[in-house]
């Protein structure tokens, strides 16, 4: 029996960085090779895990239903699209009563708009009800993973950091500040002061 391919890890990424990950690529010419979004902090993502607040759902389909959900994190919004090929997620969005906490496992997906912008969205493998504790856990975990990527960004052997430098203009400092702001939002009011905006 052949070795099953290794399952892709679900990367943790905040909304700002996720929506900036407009460049996608494959690692091989094989038609069935997985698609990766290039994260601006220098990693590849074929799958992500998000916990946030589902604030709106809308059926934007013409003939068959096609649902869009807005999943809001502490620093931005993930757009989730589900249609006939994601029956469970579609059913969840149809029945959802926003606002509610949700956990989404999904694949990054890009599409180009008429005016030439690339929008990044999430094609769900699963959406399920979540809670505030899980949301905070996700924020801390996502901040840690983001900081891990930023720390590894200058490594000479980091091929995805090199790709990110070629493909994107935004400095990784932006995402460190995003992680800081996300953490700030859940640290209890104990005289914590906001970090002053760094000057570019």
């Amino acid at each position: 029996m052949s070795q099953a391919p290794t399952r892709e890890v679900a990367k943790r990424v905040f909304a700002r960085e996720f929506n900036d990950a407009t460049f996608t690529f494959k690692e091989s010419d094989d038609e069935r090779a997985p698609n990766f979004a290039l994260l601006p902090t220098g990693d590849r993502a074929n799958r992500v895990f998000v916990v946030g607040t589902l604030t709106e759902t809308e059926d934007i389909g013409d003939e068959s239903e096609y649902w869009r959900g807005r999943v809001v994190g502490p620093t931005g919004t993930f757009f989730v699209y589900a249609g006939q090929y994601q029956p469970d997620a579609t059913a969840f969005l149809r029945d959802a009563e926003a606002p509610e906490y949700v956990a989404v496992v999904g694949k990054p997906s890009t599409f180009e708009t008429d005016d030439g912008n690339v929008n990044v969205s999430l094609r769900p493998e699963s959406i399920s009800a979540s809670d505030e504790n899980a949301r905070e856990r996700w924020i801390v975990e996502t901040a840690e993973r983001t900081l891990d990527r930023i720390e590894a960004f200058e490594d000479e052997t980091n091929e995805y950091a090199e790709m990110a430098r070629d493909e994107y203009d935004t400095a990784v400092e932006t995402y460190r500040r995003e992680a800081t702001a996300a953490l700030d939002s859940i640290v209890e009011d104990g005289g914590e002061t906001e970090e002053p905006e760094a000057t570019p």
């Binding site: 679900a10 989404v104 496992v105 901040a143 720390e151 992680a179 640290v187």
Partner: protein, 311 residues
């Protein structure tokens, strides 16, 4: 000096007491297999060794690893098949041997963890006692589906030591979100044949054919922390614990719906996206969940915030 020469001399040393053997001849045989027939070196060495075993009329067991030349290893470090090793270990557990060919089977432990051992009746060794500590020389490692064990053989030396060993815990703990549930989860049927327990596919056991299965409950899930995706198997007890659905209730649900998949659907809704801490032994690529708890303690972001600010 060529690598092959080293191996040839090794083999020569193993046999020189038993038969008239020439190093150049050994090297020549290795060379033919490796250079001419592109056989991997370890396979070539095995094949050449077999040739001399035949010639000497010896069993592989009788060779040993060359006296005193074995590595003394910790049991948790065993990660290669067919190695000759020495260990110092405590007999943690003795199990019932399922076959007459097996004299003893059980678990050996040292500071690093535990490993299964088998002693065959044909080796005619003194019996190991549960709880006793032994210096064991000349064991052979074995691998089955990614799991390692050691076999005692007729050359194995057994010396009981007057000491105790604090046996290490080789269970792992993983924390993360359960991001997927794989097929074969929920209400399943197992083969009722003694010692089989294989999961039935469409009412058939791959070993015993069509059988009247016995219901069981389990989850094959993926717990993902954003760094690694760990495959975890939750047995009936842990599945019941995290879902609140008992095997009896699951059977009722399936009976009402005339469909067993409703159980998996219900479980999926309950567990996907939830953070768990799971501990248990690893088996092949799976973690077998002995202990599971949903992560729900308050989250402290201050350490992460300090890290973010100091970068």
């Amino acid at each position: 000096m060529s690598d092959l020469r080293d191996h040839a001399e090794d083999i020569h040393e193993q046999f020189s007491d038993h038969i008239d053997i020439d190093v150049d001849d050994v090297e020549e045989r290795l060379n033919t297999l490796v250079d001419e027939y592109k056989v991997p070196l370890d396979e070539a060495r095995r094949s050449v060794t077999s040739h001399y075993l035949d010639e000497a009329g010896m069993e592989r067991d009788a060779l040993g690893g060359g006296s005193g030349s074995n590595d003394h290893v910790q049991v948790a470090d065993v990660d290669e098949d067919e190695q000759w090793i020495d260990v110092t270990a405590k007999v943690v557990d003795l199990w019932d041997a399922r076959s007459d060919a097996v004299a003893q089977v059980g678990l050996l432990g040292d500071e690093s963890g535990t490993i299964k051992f088998t002693a065959f009746a044909s080796s005619d060794l003194p019996k190991l006692e549960e709880g006793a500590v032994y210096a064991l020389g000349n064991l052979v490692t074995d691998e089955y589906q990614g799991d390692y064990s050691v076999k005692l053989n007729r050359t194995t030396t057994i010396e009981q030591l007057d000491e105790d060993i604090e046996v290490g815990d080789d269970s792992t703990t993983v924390e993360g979100a359960l991001v997927a549930m794989q097929s074969g989860s929920g209400l399943i049927k197992r083969c009722p044949e003694e010692d089989c327990t294989r999961v039935l596919q469409n009412g058939r056991c791959s070993e015993h054919g069509e059988v009247e299965g016995e219901f069981d409950l389990r989850i094959k899930g993926v717990v993902d922390d954003g760094i690694d995706a760990h495959e975890v198997i939750f047995d009936k007890e842990t599945t019941e614990a995290i879902t609140g659905i008992s095997l009896e209730e699951a059977k009722d649900m399936a009976m009402d719906a005339l469909d067993t998949t409703v159980v998996a659907d219900e479980i999926r809704d309950l567990v996907i996206g939830t953070y768990y801490r799971v501990s248990g032994p690893t088996f092949g690529r799976y973690v077998l969940a002995d202990d599971v708890e949903q992560l729900s303690e308050p989250v402290d972001a201050t350490a992460a915030l300090e890290r973010a600010r100091s970068m």
